[in-house]
Every structure is written in structure tokens, then in C-alpha cells.
Amino acid sequence: MTGAQILFLVCAGLILGSAVMVVTARNLMHAAFWLIAALFGVAVVYAILQAGFMAMIQVVIYIGAIAIMFIFADMLTRRDVRESRAQIGRNWPVAVLLGLLILAGLTALILAQPGVGRVAPALPSGLDPVAALGKALVSPDAYVLPFEVASVLLLSALVGAVYLAFLKKQ
């Protein structure tokens, strides 16, 4: 058991524990804070994977923007279903069953694959992951098309969100 393995297991425990709290917390504000904990654990996992840029944008975008938007949306729609009524629907046994079935099926599938026990190869010498990612995102023989599609998607989401937020009351 090396240090990296211990760190990974601690992070995995943090992520899964926080995720369970996200889906079971009665108070939605607490669920949003548990989501921040889970997202931070995922950022640490990216750091263990030597994807420093991903770890940074995980913190900046997910925690800094998305989680904060959840907290704002929660505050704008309060006094509704907070502690008064059950937060989990009547069909929760079906959801548990389906989740466990998919968990068992995918786990069996993963463990049956050859090569999942491999350890990470060393990064190629001279590779700067951030520079390589930047070049891959704008290079025509790499991923410039998905990159441009993402920008169009973000623009349309921006317009759509502004339009929905300005809907007049009837």
C-alpha cells in the first residue's frame, strides 16, 4: 500500500460519502454543500492522475460557478419542500434496486476486462499536458470541431437562460 493508494482511497471515501449525502440530505442547502465536498474530492483525483489543468478547472468551474448557481437557485425557490415533506419519492426502492443492479453489472463487466489491473505508464518525457491540451483543442486534425461546437452550445445556453429568466408573468 503506497502513499498514492492511501490518498486515492481516502479521496474515494470522501467522494462517495459526500455523494450519498447529496442524494439523501433533507435540506437542499446541505446537499449543495455536500456536492462541493464531492467535487473537491474529484479535483484531488484529477491531481493524482497528474491532470493539473483538469483539477484547476474542476475547482474554478464546478465549485466556483456551478455549485454556487445551485445554492442561488435553492435560495430563490425556498419555503417549498424543505423539512415539511419527504425529500425522497415513493418509488425509492425501485431506484435503489436499479442502482444496485447497474452497479453490480458494470463492476462485473469492468473486472472481466483484460488490462484493468495495469498501472499508469510514465508520462512521455518532454510532454507538457497543459500545452498539449491547448494545442489539441485548436488543432484542425485534433479536436477543434468539438471545441467550436461547445462554444456554440455555451452561447445558445446563455441566450436560452437569459430568455427563460426574463419570461413575463402572465
Binding site: F8, I15, V23, L35, A51, F70, A73, A120, A132, L133
Partner: protein, 103 residues
């Protein structure tokens, strides 16, 4: 880097299933979106782990993880705007009670 690839995949599967449970069982529409975020994060762990373990020289995994980030941001912006617009008209964010289009 002595962690087997399977550990990452199993973490991702577990996180995905927790998110799936949340999507299927929560009554509050905002909580459903929170659970969707967990599922998207599970996918991203997979993408980055495959980048690191299979093909670190080409940036396919990280590039698509960045695309997933953009999609997640767009989804949250539009989803929360929709929920707030519904809340203004119908004073509810409970998914069961937003049944205008239910036959």
C-alpha cells in the same frame, strides 16, 4: 503511480450509481440536477483516467472531459433557469407536481 486502472473505474461506477439513485428518487427538481452533476463527474473521472493510463501523449481524454465541462455548465444554466421559471408560475419545484404535459 501504483494505482490500478480498475480502482478509478470502480470509483466512477459507484459515483454514477449514487447519482442515478438520486435522479430516480429525489422529488425536488434542483436535487435531481445535483444528482446529474454527480453522474457527469463520474464520466469525467473515467475520461481522465483513460487519458492517463492508455494514451497520455494524445490528449483525447482530457479534451473530451473539457467538452463535458462545457456541456455541464450549459445544462445547469438552462436547467436552473427552467426550474426558476416554473417556480415563478406554479410555486413549486417538486417534479411530481410539474405535470402540465402529463397525459
Amino acid at each position: 503511480m501504483s494505482i490500478p486502472l480498475s480502482w478509478y473505474l470502480l470509483l466512477s461506477v459507484a459515483l454514477f450509481c449514487v447519482g442515478l439513485f438520486g435522479v430516480l428518487s429525489r422529488r425536488n427538481a434542483i436535487a435531481i440536477l445535483l444528482s446529474v452533476e454527480l453522474m457527469l463527474n463520474a464520466v469525467n473521472i473515467n475520461l481522465v483516467a483513460f487519458w492517463r493510463y492508455l494514451d497520455p501523449a494524445r490528449m483525447a481524454g482530457q479534451a473530451f472531459a473539457v467538452i463535458v465541462f462545457a456541456v455541464a455548465a450549459a445544462e445547469v444554466a438552462v436547467g436552473l433557469a427552467l426550474i426558476i421559471a416554473v417556480y415563478r408560475r406554479r410555486k413549486t419545484v417538486v417534479a411530481d407536481e410539474i405535470d402540465l404535459m402529463k397525459w
